[in-house]
C-alpha cells in the first residue's frame, strides 16, 4: 500500500481523488454506492449568492464519447446551502469543497465571505469558467485581467484554500493560470467544459435549449491533459486536473502530466463507483511500479 496523501498547498488530501462540481450533487446522492469518506474530497454543485433556476429543458445531449450540458448553475443559493445542506455533510471525514460562481464580482465576494464562516469547508473552488450562464461565469475566465480581478477581490475576504477553476475556451490557458496565481489563488483546477453544440438534423433544431453547451466526458481527455501539462509548466501553485477521466489509468496520466490531484466528473454518471475504483487503481499502479508515494509520479513525464 503506497502513500496516497497529497498536499494542495495548505490543504491535505488523503488521496488525490476529488469529484468535479456539478457531477456529484451534494455527495449524498452517491452514498448508496460508495463510502464518501474514502474520497480525497468532493466539490459540491456550483453555488451562487442567490437561487438560480438554471436553463430551460432540454439541457443535455449525448455526443460521441461524451455529453453536452446546459444546466446553467441551477442551485438554491448560498444561504440555502448553509442552512440545509451543510449540516448534512459537515461531519464527513473528507474534504468538502464548495464551487462558487457569480454574475458579478460582488456576488462572488459575498458568496465566498459566507462560506468562509463555515468551519468544515476547507476550500472553495472559484468557478470563472461556466460556459452556460449569460452574465459572468466564463466571461471572467477568458481574460487574464478579469480573472485576476475577481480572484484578488475574493482573496481579500476568503482566508482558506482558494482553488480557481479555469476554462479551456481560451487562446492560452497558461496565461490565465499565471494571472490567477499572481492574484492570490492557492491552486488551479482545469478544465471546465468545452463550448460545444449539437443539432437534430431531422427536426432541424438545436438539441439544447441554449443552442450551445459544455462538452465533457471521455472525448475531452486529450485536450484536458494538454491544458494540465501547459499550466503545470507555467505556474508554481498546485494544479488539479480534470476532463474525461473514466478510470485509474486516465487519472494517472493527469498526475504524470503535472496534476497534484484529479477530479472525477462525468464518469460518475456512468459508473457511480468510479471514484473509489480510481483510488484503488492508483494504489495498484504505484505498488506495481514500486513507488512508495503518489507524489513521486506527479509531473513525472518531465523528469
Amino acid at each position: 500500500m503506497a502513500n496516497l496523501e497529497v498536499k494542495l498547498g495548505n490543504l491535505s488530501l488523503k488521496n488525490p481523488v476529488l469529484t468535479a462540481s456539478g457531477t456529484f450533487g451534494y455527495g449524498t446522492e452517491y452514498a448508496d454506492f460508495i463510502d464518501l469518506n474514502r474520497l480525497g474530497g468532493f466539490i459540491v454543485k456550483g453555488t451562487t449568492l442567490n437561487a438560480r433556476e438554471g436553463n430551460p429543458y432540454p439541457r443535455m445531449a449525448e455526443t460521441p464519447s461524451g455529453m453536452l450540458n446546459a444546466v446553467g448553475l441551477q442551485n438554491k443559493g448560498v444561504d440555502y446551502f448553509i442552512e440545509h445542506i451543510y449540516p448534512t455533510i459537515k461531519d464527513l471525514n473528507t474534504n468538502v469543497l464548495v464551487n462558487v460562481s457569480g454574475a458579478c464580482i460582488e456576488d462572488y465576494v459575498r458568496c465566498a465571505e459566507k462560506i468562509n464562516e463555515l468551519d468544515k469547508i476547507p476550500s472553495i473552488e472559484l468557478n470563472i469558467s461556466c460556459p452556460n450562464v449569460k452574465k459572468g461565469g466564463m466571461g471572467f475566465g477568458t481574460s487574464p485581467d478579469m480573472a485576476a480581478e475577481v480572484v484578488s477581490n475574493v482573496r481579500k475576504v476568503y482566508k482558506k484554500h482558494l482553488m480557481v477553476k479555469l476554462s479551456p475556451n481560451v487562446t492560452s490557458i497558461a496565461e490565465i493560470a499565471k494571472a490567477v496565481e499572481g492574484a492570490g489563488a492557492d491552486s488551479v483546477s482545469l478544465i471546465n467544459t468545452l463550448l460545444g453544440m449539437a443539432i437534430d438534423a431531422e427536426r432541424r433544431k438545436p438539441l439544447l435549449s441554449t443552442v450551445t453547451g459544455g462538452l465533457s466526458g471521455a472525448c475531452v481527455k486529450p485536450i484536458a491533459l494538454r491544458c494540465v501539462w501547459q499550466v503545470a509548466n507555467a505556474v508554481k501553485i498546485p494544479v488539479v486536473g480534470l476532463g474525461g477521466i473514466m478510470c485509474a489509468t486516465d487519472a494517472i496520466e493527469f498526475l504524470l502530466a503535472g496534476a497534484t490531484a484529479v477530479q472525477i466528473g462525468t464518469a460518475n454518471f456512468i459508473d457511480p463507483t468510479t471514484t473509489v475504483n480510481v483510488i484503488d487503481g492508483i494504489n495498484e499502479y504505484l505498488d506495481r511500479h514500486n513507488f512508495s508515494s503518489v507524489t513521486e509520479i506527479i509531473g513525472a513525464i518531465n523528469k
Binding site: F33, E53, Y57, M60, T63, I270, D271
Partner: protein, 255 residues
Amino acid sequence: MKHLLDLTLKESRFLNARNILMKFTSDKWLPEMLPGQFVEVKIENEPKVFLRRPISIHFVDYEQNELWLLVQTVGNGTNKMAQLKVGETMNIMLPLGDRGFSIEKSNQDLLLIGGGVGVAPLLYLAKILKEKGNKITFLLGSRTKEDLMQIDEFSKYGEVLVTTEDGSFGEKGFVTQHSVLSAKKFDYIYTCGPTPMMKAVAKYATEANSACEVSLENKMACGLGACLCCVTETKKSNECVCKKGPVFDINELNW
C-alpha cells in the same frame, strides 16, 4: 437503497417489430422496487453510446426473482440492449426515482392509460393496486393492432380497453377519444406514454375532475438527481424527473 447489479438475461422475446420484452434475474434476491420506478442500464461495447439508458420497470416477479423490462428499440443503446443473449449480464442501477405511482389506494375505481411503450410501467402498478382491492381498467393506445403488447398480461389484473389509430383493433382514434371516458367517471387516473398523449389525458382528467398522475420520461444522465439535466418545470421550481419523479401529479406541473 439503490443498487448497482449485474443482472443475467433469463429470457427475451420481440413482441413486435420494435419492442422487446427482457426478463432479468440474479443469484441474489432482487431489492424492493415500486411501481413507476425505473432502472438505468449500462450499455457496453457500443462506441456510439456513452450514457446509461433509463428504462421503466415493467414488472417484478419476486417468486421467480425476475425483473421485466419492456424496451423499445429506438437507437444505438436500446438496439445494443436487444442483442444481449440469454445467460449474458448487464450492469443495471436500480431502483431509481424517489416517487413512483401512488399505491396507497384501496377499493377504488382506477383507470390506467398507456400509449405505445408507455404501457410498460402499468403492469407492475396494476398488480400492486389489484392486491389492494382496487378495480382496474386499462385503456391502451397504439397505432395499429400489431403495436399492442402484453394484452394477456394486462388482462390478469383488469379489463383491457384499446384504441388504435387505424382502427385495426378496439375503438378507432386516440385514447382520449375512447367512449369509456364519457360513459364513466374514475376515481383516479394513472398515465404513461408520449407527452402529447399525457397532456391530452391530463386535460381530460382536469375537466372530468379526476385526480391524475403522469410518468415523465425526460432525457437524463446520472439518474440520481446529481447532474440536474432532466428537469421538468413544476409550479414551484425546476425539479429532476429522475429524483423527484418520474411520477408527478398533474397539478404540480405547468401543463
